[in-house]
């Protein structure tokens, strides 16, 4: 596999739920070492697409290549091998509530490596630090953490195995703006310092404005986009696209800022 092959390649994805079509030929590719955001109105199937990319939900048609592996025609053990090479942050963190934060982070390390206990402890401490958590957070239970810290702990678990790609589902939803911006910086540093590829689904315009390299807009199957990619490019390029939904999406924010 060559190093400059795209990390994620989505090719003509079609998704139907009964008679309802959600995606009707969605295609894009994400290059390694970039931070890409997926946006779209509600009902455009952003989270569904994410689940299809990481192999949790089978698309009706089309192909997904993640790190060069065809996620929907590969043997189960090869799929397991790919699963070790990406991390996923679920919306509410999905930390195991019966384990402490440190034990949560250690789960993938104990499961998939043969490292000694002391090394795993040191690695857990490194992950917590990389996720921006204080060292004493490790001994706490997930229920004792605030929402922002829970997401950071989930990031620490998601990057435990040095994934090449990290998927984030609405990482800043439910966080206050200050915590959310701190989280944005954290995600950016993962891309810049660790060379990760990050693919996130978001509603947060500030995330798009602040840290994202590229924005992909999913169109609604009923509207102009017909269930395809509506726009794809830098934030400026996307904002320049002539589409009713995109105009409205970005103008909401302008009203809030100008107060008019």
């Amino acid at each position: 596999m060559s190093a400059d092959a795209p990390a994620i390649e989505v090719d003509a994805i079609v998704t139907r739920f009964g008679a309802q079509t959600v995606h009707n030929g969605v295609s894009f590719a994400v290059a390694r070492g970039t931070l890409v955001a997926l946006i779209g109105g509600s009902g455009t199937g952003k989270s569904v697409l994410l689940r299809e990319i990481i192999g949790l939900q089978r698309p009706s048609a089309g192909r997904v290549h993640l790190l060069g592996t065809d996620m929907w025609s590969v043997a189960p053990d090869a799929l397991d091998a790919v699963r070790r090479r990406f991390g996923m942050l679920f919306q509410d963190g999905a930390l195991f509530s019966s384990l402490t934060v440190a034990q949560n982070v250690a789960v993938p390390l104990r499961e998939h490596t043969h490292l000694t206990g002391a090394t795993i402890d040191a690695l857990v401490a490194l992950r917590l630090w990389q996720a921006g958590l204080p060292a004493d957070a490790g001994a706490k239970m997930p229920s004792e953490l605030s929402g922002g810290m829970r997401k950071r702990a989930a990031i620490a678990r998601a990057i435990a195995l040095e994934p090449e790609v990290l998927f984030l589902d609405e990482p800043t939803s439910g966080l206050d703006p200050i915590t959310a911006r701190g989280f944005d910086r954290l995600v950016r540093s993962l891309v810049d310092d660790l060379g990760l590829t990050v693919f996130l689904v978001t509603h947060d315009l500030d995330t798009l404005r602040g840290v994202v390299d590229r924005v992909i807009v999913l169109g609604s199957a009923q509207g102009q986009g017909q269930g395809r990619v509506l726009a794809d490019g830098t934030l400026q390029e996307v904002m320049a696209v002539d589409d009713a939904w995109i105009r409205e999406y970005f103008s909401v924010r302008r009203i809030a800022r100008d107060g008019s």
Binding site: S97, L115, Q130, M141, P142, D193
Partner: protein, 389 residues
């Protein structure tokens, strides 16, 4: 993933220094260089760590050469730095040479982490005596809480008596159906089998003395007075008590109980009272089902095993089974029901706001209810003895 095989060419190795697939030690006149090679990544980390541990490095490893390093991830950088404590705290970057920009950033980040990290003190384990004391006081708190909750339930009941409109009839009906009607099959099956088993065991002994017919006395009194109430209460504790905790607990997790409060309603009225009342109504009925079924089971096996025909069985039952035994058994049921429902609801209403606590509370409800039922039954036995009932 590209993974260069084969050991790198050794440039000028000092005696006793080892080269591996991952690094080469190059001893020069005044300093030693550790030359990293290959891909230092997590999947190979155990091997790398073992190789580093086997390395007897002179104290003066002064330079780490990363020019031949394919890639390094932060986990591998951590292992490297842990193996080289002298370099960990070194402030100047002059000992790191030849690293690509990306690799250098990763090593630098991990070095910063190790320099900043302080040992977190282990949480202190309480001593056994202190732990015992804490558990006893926790148990006291639990019991006190139950009594409190019982009081609050009684207050809610009083309010409902004064204003019958406040009673949630629909919720009450739903609970009557779930805790009562739907429990009938399992109660019937279990008590039927218990009746068979008791009769069988008593029959084995009675046969020896030719006292077959007196088995009816034993099973009649035993089943209606003790076994049916206890067995049915245990089943209901496992079914409805656990369900109450799980339902109310998950409503607390999703903030439904808070919503009820902010709408000006009382969770005690809306959620707890219907459940408590429903259980107190249905448990005596279920015990009656249990009485009938266990006697049916007894009668069914008495024929083939003891030659006691159903007619003889029923005739003897009329003589031997005083109705007070049946009433004692039925009278215990509402008390058991009250205890089970109060424990189940209280554990649900006070559960911690996470899934682990919910599971623990549900388990605890079942254990507490069963212990409470059996304790109460013992108290009843002593009381009834004293009262000559």
């Amino acid at each position: 993933m590209s993974d260069p095989e084969g050991a790198p060419a050794r440039i000028r190795g000092g005696p006793g220094l080892s080269d591996t697939r991952w690094f080469a030690v190059v001893a020069e006149a005044e300093r030693t260089t550790l030359r990293l090679t290959g891909a230092w990544r997590l999947p190979h980390l155990a091997e790398i760590e073992a190789a580093l541990a086997g390395l007897a490095l002179p104290a003066a490893v002064a330079v780490i050469d990363g020019s031949a390093l394919g890639s390094i991830d932060s986990a591998a950088a951590l292992v490297l730095l842990r193996a080289l404590p002298a370099l960990r705290a070194a402030q100047d970057a002059s000992c790191w040479v030849g690293f690509s920009a990306a690799n250098g950033r990763i090593v630098e980040q991990v070095r910063k982490h190790l320099a900043a990290s302080v040992a977190v003190p282990e949480p202190r384990q309480p001593r056994p005596l202190a732990r015992l004391g804490r558990q006893v006081s926790a148990l006291g708190g639990l019991l006190g809480g139950h009594v409190n909750f019982l009081g609050a339930t009684l207050v809610a009941f009083g309010q409902a008596l004064l204003q019958p409109r406040r009673l949630r009839l629909r919720e009450l009906t739903v609970q009557l159906e779930q805790a009562g009607l739907m429990a009938i099959p399992v109660v019937a099956l279990v008590t039927l089998l218990i009746g068979v088993v008791i009769t069988y065991l008593l029959g084995l002994q009675a046969e020896k003395y030719g006292a077959n017919i007196f088995v009816v006395d034993g099973v009649g009194i035993g089943a209606t007075r003790e076994f049916a109430p206890i067995i049915v209460a245990v089943i209901v504790a496992g079914r409805s008590g656990a369900a109450f905790t799980a339902q109310l607990g998950s409503m607390r997790l999703t903030e439904e109980t808070d919503a009820i409060r902010t709408l000006g309603l009382s969770p005690m009225q809306v959620l707890v009272l219907p459940r408590v009342l429903a259980l107190m109504v249905v448990l005596p009925l279920l015990v009656f089902v249990g009485d009938v079924m266990s006697l049916t089971g007894a009668m069914a096996i008495a024929g083939p095993m003891l030659d006691v025909t159903p007619v003889a069985f029923l005739a003897r039952l009329r003589e031997a089974l005083d109705t007070r035994h049946v009433f004692v058994g039925l009278a215990k049921a509402p008390v058991f029901a009250l205890v089970i429902a109060v424990i189940g609801c209280r554990m649900g209403m006070t559960v911690g706001r996470d899934t682990r606590a919910l599971g623990a509370a549900t388990t605890s409800t079942v254990v507490q209810s069963i212990v409470a039922v059996i304790l109460l039954d013992a108290v009843f036995a002593v009381l009834m003895q004293a009262l000559d009932l």
